[in-house]
């Protein structure tokens, strides 16, 4: 029988283990020995972080720096000498102290780690070959690193049907290792609180209340839990097969559009460093896959800016509610509908760029090309699972067609490219098709936090003053802090704007609005960092990339900025394709036709769908308020 570890109680960590980032703060350091090496680390850091800071790798599973530090999986066990005896400790939660002696790779530590992983695997549907996370799974990697060849523990296994009934996220409880990273990110970062540990012991599940499907609860479909999950327990709902079918159908004209952020993230799936711009190869790959037209959502982002900037000016003029809240992030829109329905009227009525794109493709583009709109299939390559939900909303489309037929995440596109055997590295750069592929730098920066407001202000400034804004004036739009606010001078008026990303930060902003603070315009994106941190972006489960992709969002955002700088056109209103579409088809921003095709409405959804107070207590709810 393998050794089962005994646990000594873990002392409290005073500060989360992210102290390395704040070296300007004066702090006490301690000296300790890890594997015979002397290591100096700030007091209160965990052993794991101290070891990683000097390049000693300790495996971990449940640990997510600063987000989930609960010490539950025990695969990070190390030997720590306490008062002359060796004890096993979870290094991710054990704080360093002066003179501590740690062994990370002693035979005993390794043996016990293996036991821990074997226990996890003993209740795991091990189907690696057919699993979405195959070759990109943290559990699989650890099992491989530790050389686990057979599992000594056999016994009952959980066997729960797969939850596959919604258009955005699929859940396989049989691959869940109960690390609770999904729960932590959903409640601490997004503050949506969907998950909790239900039940106890072997039966325990990390699940939404009452084991409901994500589509039945107040989930904003952002997919942050998907990128946090180390295994294949939470994955996007794939629709690759449907896209292949459309491509195969000779009768269909298949149009693809790529969101601004895809050009700076897709490369990661093919081994390029984070922040590599692969626009040309992306376009080439899509042509090889057989799409009839390859367009950029950046184009319709420019259009969104035209509409939204005009909407802002209209509202500043006294028509409609202030502050105007951006509506291009469907996760954020759903968040508002569930938790802050009183702000629904503040939401911009603009559809999000990919929906505008779909609507125009099936009208304007179809007319121009003489195509039957019912034969056009619009595929959108998007950074996020919420776009899958958005495309399925009944508001988006007409009786005859949906604006957007299929949404693929960045990850799914990478899989399609691999399926087709396309050698991504060897592709030569190609350009987007015209006219719906022409875009300005303003459209590109839509993909990261602050980008929408910066783009809209560039245009609003021009519309009010007749002059072009100096682009260096407002660089502070793009900082990484979760909630930013600043003042912007338009012609007669100085307006107060705010930028929030991550719905936790959105809560902070909306609570201030609730308590009466005045703003004119706010940009809110559901995902931390905006689309570059979206729930559909590449995930790293490989050995050298253990951090969740969230941590890479800054490099990706920088790449989008580089695209913006490199463009000749940097303002939406300068985009010739946008000008032309207004001339030929839409008339002017906010025209009746624009309103019909490019704008939408929203619906309150309740904090706890299906359990509204009045339904709970029948007609007698008069007692209850």
């Amino acid at each position: 029988m393998p050794e089962v570890p005994e646990f000594t109680p873990t002392p409290e960590i005073k500060e989360p283990g992210n102290l390395f980032e704040h070296d300007e703060i004066e702090m006490k350091t301690v000296k300790l020995t890890i594997d015979g090496r002397e290591v100096i680390a700030p007091e209160g850091t965990s052993i794991l972080e101290a070891a990683r800071s000097v390049g000693i790798e300790i495996p971990s599973l449940c640990y997510l720096k600063g987000i989930n530090e609960i010490g539950s999986c025990r695969v990070c066990l190390v030997e720590v000498e306490i008062k002359g005896t060796m004890t096993l400790q979870a290094s991710c939660v054990y704080p360093v102290s002066e003179g501590l002696t740690v062994y990370t790779n002693s035979p005993r530590a390794i043996r016990v780690r293996r036991t821990m992983v074997e226990l996890l695997l003993s209740d795991h549907h091990r189907e690696c070959t057919t699993c979405v996370r195959n070759l990109n799974c943290e559990l699989q990697n650890i099992a491989d690193d530790l050389g686990i060849r057979n599992i000594k523990y056999t016994g009952e296994m959980n066997d729960v049907p797969i939850f596959n009934d919604n258009p955005f996220i699929m859940r396989d409880y049989n691959k869940c290792i109960k690390c609770r990273r999904c729960e932590a990110i959903c409640s601490k970062v997004q503050e949506v609180n969907v998950y909790s540990g239900l039940g106890r012991g072997f039966e325990m599940k990390v699940a939404p209340a009452f084991m409901q499907d994500l589509s039945e609860v107040a989930c904003i479909t952002c997919g942050q839990c998907v990128i946090a999950c180390p295994t294949g327990s939470l994955v996007e709902k794939e629709c690759i097969e449907s896209v292949w079918e459309a491509l195969e159908d000779k009768d269909k004209y298949v149009v693809v559009q790529t969101a601004p952020s895809i050009q700076v993230t897709l490369g990661e799936s093919f081994g390029y460093p984070v922040g590599t711009i692969v626009t040309g190869k992306l376009v080439a790959a899509l042509r090889r896959l057989g799409f009839d037209s390859v367009f950029a959502t950046d184009f319709s982002a420019d259009l969104t800016i035209m509409e939204e900037a005009n909407e802002l000016l209209e509202r500043l003029d006294g028509h409609g509610k202030l502050p105007l809240l951006s509506s291009c992030s469907p996760g954020w829109v759903k968040f508002c509908e569930h938790f802050y329905p009183e702000f629904i009227e503040n939401l911009s009525s603009c559809k999000s760029p990919h929906e505008m794109f779909g609507a125009l493709t099936k009208t304007y583009f179809a007319e121009k090309q003489g195509l039957d709109p019912e034969k056009i299939v619009v595929v959108a390559i998007m950074p996020c699972t919420a776009k899958k939900f958005e495309a399925a909303r009944p508001e988006f489309g007409t009786k005859r067609f949906k604006d957007v037929d299929w949404v693929l995440t960045t990850r799914e596109l990478a899989r399609m490219i691999r399926q087709a055997g396309i050698k991504f590295h060897d592709l030569t750069d190609e350009d987007y098709d015209t006219p719906l592929g022409i875009s300005s730098g303003a459209g590109a920066i839509f993909g990261s936090t602050g980008g929408v407001i910066e783009a809209a202000v560039r245009t609003a400034y021009f519309l009010t003053t007749g002059k072009e804004m100096d682009l260096l004036d407002y660089y502070e739009f793009r900082g990484i802090s979760g909630l930013k606010e600043m003042e912007v001078k338009l012609k007669e008026q100085t307006i107060k704007v705010a930028i929030a990303h991550g719905t936790g930060n959105a809560r902070r902003l909306l609570d201030r609005l609730r308590s009466g603070e005045k703003f004119h315009y706010a940009e809110i994106m559901a995902c931390p960092g905006g689309c570059v941190g979206g729930g559909g972006q590449p995930i790293f489960g490989t050995r050298d990339h253990k951090e969740i992709s969230l941590n890479y969002r800054h490099n990706r955002a920088d790449a989008l900025d580089r695209i913006d700088y490199s463009k000749e056109l940097r303002r939406a209103h300068e985009n010739p394709a946008v000008k032309k579409i207004y001339e030929d088809y839409l008339g002017h921003p906010l025209s009746d036709r624009a309103k019909e095709l490019l704008h939408t409405y929203y619906t309150p959804r309740g904090k706890l769908p299906g359990f509204e107070l009045e339904n709970l207590t029948g007609e007698h709810n008069k007692y209850l308020h």
Partner: protein, 199 residues
Amino acid sequence: MKATTEQEYPHSEQGIVPLLPKTETKPEKREMVDTKDHKYRELDKILDHYRGEKGELIRVLHSAQKIFGYLPPEVQAYVALKMDIPVSEVNGVVTFYTLFVTEPKGKHTISVCMGTACYVKGAREVMDKLKDELKLDARETSADGMFTLRSTRCLGACGMAPVMTVDEEVHGKLNAGDLTGILKIYQEQDAGEEHDQVH
């Protein structure tokens, strides 16, 4: 393996002493309290008493269980909305403590001993037969609300194995053939009671 949730809830199961407000449900008001509406009004009084104190969730749930007899999803959701606590957290607490039940309890509770002695002497068969007889699948309570079926650890009556209790009464040396008869005793007893009430 270690249940990771255990460290996270500060209260131990035994340590919960519900402090009920004075206005608590009195048994004599039974007919009134029986309507759903009145039950929610009772629950409101409890919620008012603990107004805003999220740390009192367990006590509130305990009181709610006393009022409703069990904690169905609607009641958990109601508590979550009223206390402004995520329903996932409420459901987590309810499913963590065995003290809470989420299904109505039947009029009679049958506990089949699954201790070693009873197991060896055929407790499994007794269990299966009862499930069959009461048409239970995953549920614990029969559709007519008459019986709730549970398993239990050694009852200390190993000499009579296999053993089960119905409410307080112990039935020993069981075999599958006896069970229909035993269930019948309780069914008839109840039918008699109802008959008495009508007159």
